[in-house]
Symmetry: C2
Subunit: 473 residues, 2 copies
């Protein structure tokens, strides 16, 4: 009897092992299929070409943003999804106007033009421009230490650069973006006439990088114009200030804020075959800044997210859960799309088990960052070996994406695709963020990597450590 039991045990283990290996092998094959589909017959690059070259920059409230809504909705409809719809959302409308212009005057009669661009949301300068002396600071604390006496009537020049020795470039960005976001509001408190901010870029070049800023609670009449200056011109201005601290800076911008207008999140889904009430979101943001065509930020994320659903269809995957692509509107200057999506999801009592955002550029994917519990993350880690053939190695706890942030809560796992980020800020929010800066295979590898993760989450979920290919535990 004991012998029979032993034999039975061996038999059972063998069967279990067989099933497990089969499952692993099935998953390996499915990932291979997703990568092949994306690299051999992908649509992401073609979509990005249209979005970037036929449409262009897609600032919230602009005609281009609406064209992008129509285009992506129509393309999603072609994929044979179960549902495609628009979710209305009110968004800020701000226009850059024309002919931004600036110069440095070091001595009477001698002016040197410099490259600036209005920060998103800034008020205009007076119609004849603004001219004043410049006070260079390296942060908000230094500003506060100078006080009203030294700042009143001056143009504050924030010149703290991104730290080149920080390996994670988003961390370096986070380390100086307060100058751009809050610089004008803070300087206005001390009676400054305007602010110019060193562009958030590692590259020393002539392109100014725009981005969001806020006046906080500052009343309209106290708002001062805020511009980004290129890194090359920031270095020039700083060196000129050392020669002549009384030099004057002139700039002219006619940007303008309007009342909110209606726009849309674009949404499509493959409804789950077994657990349709369990929703997986994959998305990027459809709006972009207006200087380039927003190919990396975030055209790449948009087309990669659309591609995830197309890859599911093409690869014959029938997901158990509902897989929903959301192209969020207004990430750049308001996050209204992300907030609206979460608001509606809460109102409808929807169950989001997972949300994945791609909003870090279309570069070679390296992995994901997860906002998850230790148990959920443990499950994710068990899938790592499946990604090794694709050089996907980065699985870390951390942030996810701005648009999906409002979904945080309960058991929802959030994640962000993490591509190589070393050259991202060379393009970010600048005229250089164009289609040519995106490499086809890098974009396609990102889409396949996202699809692979979504496939595994759909199949195994995060809840139980048992329900997964055991050999990978």
């Amino acid at each position: 009897m004991k012998k029979l039991n032993t034999l039975l045990l061996i038999f059972t283990f063998t069967l279990a092992g067989f099933a497990q290996n089969n499952s692993v092998s099935e998953d390996s094959l499915m990932l291979r299929k997703l990568y092949e589909q994306s690299l051999l017959n992908g649509k992401s690059y073609e979509w990005l070409d249209h979005l970037s070259n036929n449409i262009g920059g897609r600032l919230s409230g602009s005609v281009n943003a609406e064209r992008a809504v129509k285009y992506t909705k129509a393309e999603l409809e072609k994929l044979g999804l179960d549902k495609v719809w628009l979710q209305p959302v009110m968004v800020p409308k701000w226009t850059r106007g024309v002919q931004e212009y600036a110069y440095v005057q070091v001595a009477e009669g001698t002016t040197t033009p410099v490259n600036i661009t209005a920060l998103g949301g800034s008020v205009a300068t007076p119609e004849t421009g603004l001219r004043a002396e410049v006070v260079e600071v390296h942060g908000l604390e230094e500003l506060a230490s100078l006080g009203k006496e030294k700042l009143a009537g001056k143009i504050v020049f924030y010149n703290r650069p991104m730290q080149p020795d920080v390996i994670h470039t988003f961390e370096a960005y986070g380390g100086c973006v307060d100058q751009r976001y809050s610089g004008a509001a803070e300087a206005a408190k001390y009676g400054a006439a305007g602010v110019i901010v060193r562009s958030m870029s590692h590259k020393i070049d002539k392109y100014p990088h725009t981005g969001s800023m806020s006046y906080g609670e500052l009343p309209d009449e106290k708002r001062i114009p805020a511009a980004a200056i290129s890194t090359q011109d920031a270095d020039y201005l700083s060196s000129m200030l050392k020669l002549n601290k009384d030099l004057s800076f002139y700039y002219k911008m006619n940007c303008k804020n309007y009342p909110d207008v209606e726009s849309y999140n674009v949404i499509g889904e493959i409804t789950g075959s077994e657990n349709p009430e369990e929703i997986i979101v994959v998305g990027g943001h459809l709006d972009s800044w207006d200087l380039g065509d927003g190919s990396h930020d975030d055209g790449a994320g948009v087309v990669q997210s659309m591609e995830v659903l197309r890859l599911f269809k093409e690869s014959g995957i029938t997901p158990k859960k509902t897989i929903r692509v959301v192209l969020f509107m207004n990430e750049e200057n308001g996050l209204r799309g992300g907030k609206k999506y979460a608001e509606v999801a809460t109102a409808k009592n929807e169950n989001h088990v997972f949300a994945l955002e791609s909003d870090s550029g279309g570069f070679t994917p390296r992995g994901f960052s997860f906002d998850a519990s230790p148990q959920q993350f443990q499950k994710v880690q068990s899938w790592e070996p499946l990604f090794k053939p694709y050089l996907i190695h980065y699985f870390e706890l951390g942030g996810s994406g701005a648009d999906i942030g409002p979904l945080k809560g309960g058991n929802t796992v959030l994640a962000g695709l993490r591509p190589d980020s070393q050259r991202y800020f060379d393009y970010h929010h600048a005229a250089t963020d164009t289609f040519e800066a995106v490499n086809k295979r890098e974009l396609e590898l990102g889409a396949a990597t996202m699809a692979s993760l979504v496939y595994l989450v759909d199949k195994y979920g995060f809840d139980s450590i048992q329900n997964q290919p055991d050999i990978l535990k």
Copy 2:
């Protein structure tokens, strides 16, 4: 007594642990220092700027190659190394000539120009050019199956593309480079008049990619002209052949082979303070193809290798072993520099414990490939955690680099830097391989990564698993 023994044991363990932790922490700090030096005060990008923009393409035997020898020797001399010298080596000399030109004639009186470039080492076409019908094949086997009857007097068009679904791009390259290297020699056997080869590139564009080829033992009079055609034009030609298989192709090239000329490997070293007879080589190749300025292939490897020694000096590292930078001549079309270096090393009975080459482009580094014994590789793997903060994760057994290949044998460990390779073949051997295609921080990260590995090899060696920071085992 037992108690005392236990206490002694605990004390000993604590001391050992303390020493180990100290060593780990010392190594972590040194790696941090190397990365900081490279990213904050690096010289690699400035050197590459000169090599690419002031000198340019550096084909073996050309004036530019000699200028590069002089420049890099002079720069190494400025670093305060213990020795800098030139190692003479005879190299092939081949010139492209001027005005390469080609067109497709689909019908009488209708010609479409296409972009071609001579493969390195090819003979010229007749002075008035070569015109013939085209036979498209996808490999050497298909060629053989067609035989003399179908190939005599024709231009053979090799059109097997790099496979986009192969994740490791060097593997995809390896999968079709036989067409370029042996295509002419094989086609000549069947009486073909010439060959054109689809460029080895993932990107569909108008730039032809040159590269080395060989006629093998073919006598001079049987040698036929060989050119690369751009991927875009290869697709065009292939589609036209489907419409009219009798179309004719015309090309004209006046490239030329000369007798060998003398050139040099450029070598510099920091002589080891404890074991000077143990040599560590770090290198890249100084020659390049002539269409672009060879910034990725292999200007990047040259300046990164020079930077390794500069980083050692700047960081105050006194290496135990001899650290030698070797800038090899003639990797592209002969490997004479690599062979000569190994030949001299053997003749002098030098003991090379390690050689590291960077010859895969100046992109974001991801790790290294090692040609080592399992025991040696185990030691390498123990260092992996030290690299994690720098996103260096790829440590695999495999190939190393062409120039250091001839050093293989005995206990010498060989390794190659492995940067992200997804866009490498867009530039490789084409006019697009220019300084603008290299990103400053990506280049600098590569140099620091190489310096870090060399630092660890110098300190711990490969021989004993004991001699290293134990916590990392």
